[in-house]
């Protein structure tokens, strides 16, 4: 417990600092009210709006842990949203719509996983294909229109609330907790990390590396489906053009902010979803603090660069070298004395 807290400490601290900063400019930032049996307030808003990226970040974390990357998640959101909406429009009901959407997401993940694990195509390239073609497929399903439906049951997933808490917020927390439990209570987490660190040695120890890689891409597809369902439920319609647009970049960013190495290996889902919340806090906080939203992207860029500097193996080793040289020089000086 203490270990995992220490792991997410930098992300938590960043969140606290951000909250303090925003509160400085917008004093009621942390205020939460009750209205119509719902909790309202900027923090609740962040928890709700951050849901798609947080859920995408869960799947992306697993893919990144194997040393891969999934560029297609934004597009898969659009596809699954379109599938769900068209099922609802056809009157097939909520359960069928959900099953179809989740199935579509997993098929998309299977496709990516097979390209990477079976054909051996680099992950960036392999997922780029679906990223490009997928939006066309989504538009094909919605026939280019914004497909609206009137099913309130489905809409509940996007705009409803349970015990005053918005459903999307509950969904991302639930996804994060479930996947983290699945990884840590079974051996999946260890096996994924082993494959990410050293695929050859893991395969030699009998780990089914190929199967695991396919599974993580399917998990990413599944998370994208969930995010797509929430986005579709939120606006009560499927917008194939804009649903999930560029969210893959935010998801990757969340994983990187979560301190997970893009080269694979150790991962923390909690840190990644906190990363997603950091991104959303910046987005919302800039608006609330009265800054023009134009600063948003620049801040994100600076954040990525700062994290890269900290993570870089190169800089770390050069830093170690400098320290060693200083120590050696000091030792030499002491010898002279």
């Amino acid at each position: 417990m203490i270990r995992s807290l220490r792991r997410v400490a930098p992300q938590l601290m960043t969140l606290v600092v951000l909250a303090a900063l925003v509160s400085w400019f917008f004093p009621s930032f942390l205020q939460i009210d009750m209205s119509d049996g719902r909790l309202v307030g900027p923090v609740i808003d962040i928890l709700k709006r951050g849901a798609p990226v947080a859920i995408l970040a869960v799947g992306m974390t697993l893919v990144v842990a194997t040393g891969g990357i999934d560029l297609s998640v934004g597009t898969v959101m659009a596809i699954t949203g379109a599938v769900a909406a068209s099922a609802l429009v056809s009157g097939w009901g909520v359960p069928v719509a959900l099953i179809l959407a989740v199935g579509a997401g997993m098929i998309a993940g299977l496709w990516n996983g097979c390209l990477v694990a079976v054909l051996g195509i680099q992950p960036i390239v392999a997922t780029l294909i679906l990223m490009t073609a997928g939006r066309g497929i989504a538009q094909l399903i919605t026939e280019g229109r914004i497909l609206t439906y009137s099913d309130t049951g489905f809409g509940f997933l996007g705009s409803g609330s349970i015990l005053g808490i918005p459903v999307p917020a509950l969904l991302w927390v639930l996804t994060g907790v479930l996947v983290a439990l699945l990884m840590r209570r079974t051996a999946l987490g260890l096996l994924v990390e082993a494959v990410g660190v050293n695929k050859r040695a893991s395969a030699l120890a009998g780990v089914n590396a190929r199967g695991l890689i396919i599974v993580v891409y399917m998990a990413s597809g599944l998370c994208a489906a969930l995010a797509g369902i929430i986005a579709t439920a939120d606006i009560r319609g499927a917008d194939a053009n804009n649903a999930g647009l560029w969210l893959e970049l935010d998801a990757i960013l969340a994983v990187v902010i979560g301190g997970n190495s893009l080269l694979g290996g150790r991962f923390s889902i909690a840190a990644s979803v906190l990363g997603a919340m950091i991104i959303q806090t910046i987005d919302t906080g800039i608006l609330l603090a009265g800054f023009p939203s134009e600063y948003n992207l620049v801040i994100k860029a600076v954040l990525v660069l700062a994290i890269l500097m900290i993570q870089s193996p190169h800089l770390a080793s050069e830093w170690a070298l400098i320290r060693m040289q200083i120590a050696r020089r000091r030792a030499a000086r002491e010898q002279e004395v």
Partner: protein, 323 residues
Amino acid sequence: MNPRTFPLLATIAIFLVAYAICSAQYPTIFSSRVAGNLLTDNAYLGITAVGMTLVILSGGIDLSVGSVIAFSGVFIAVMLRDTGLHPLVIFALLLVVTTLFGAAMGGLIDILAMPPFIVTLAGMFLARGVAYMLTIDSVPINHDFYSFLQKSYYLMPGKGRLTFIGVLMLLTVLAGMIVAHRTRFGASVFALGGGTATARLMGVKVRRTTVQIYAFSGFMSGLAGIVFSIYTGSGYPLAAVGTELTAIAAVVIGGTLLAGGAGYMFGTLIGVLTMGLIQTYIVFDGTLSSWWTKIVIGVLLLSFILLQKGLVHLSTRQRGARI
């Protein structure tokens, strides 16, 4: 026959066959008018793709190009609005800025030893963010020099217009061909794509070359931004979203190996024109929807990646299979 040229030949063949099919169905496609439009409409994409080709040949990737195009348009529009400088002076300033921007990304990639993907992703955010900070609105460009550029064209036989930006794109491709295939810098780029360790053994100065590669891409994105501003007559921070992906797709369809080390600058031109042709056909057809463009491009991407995978597989099959 050198197997290295197969993807290029495949690209050219696909383009010619596609053009023939399109022309057979809609004879007007086979006209200088459509050809002229093809060049004009895809001028900015072609110029971006030239920079992207060099980056990909070196085994890298540059996600910042679309944002840099948007930044360039906004920069030009705002500078024209707020200062009395001549467009040519602004162009020069802009190209210096974007080239330095690319060089900085190249430097970071090498110094941090981080994947180009994530470094240029930061660059992508930064460039568009700065564009936003300059303005959030679309800023129209009204300048005599711009009108002059927009109206200058050569009337080809058949009333097709060979516009200034179309010609500029062709010249850029030509320059790109020379840089990639006829200079020592180009040879170093191919060497990096063939393997950094070997390239270093053969005397390539890896850091300097990496900086130059991304600086080249930054320059080309700036140039593409100028062309885009001439094409649209305005600067808009939300412009050219996703151009990086279109450019990467064009490069791959043009027969360049995404893993780096093999490809032809000329192929990229054909790749750009192929993608333009698909769009033209869909416009001509009228009943087909625009999303088919994306699906067809995706299918083309997949087939080229598989074709190249197959060629690589063939050439390395002799080595003992060991997992």
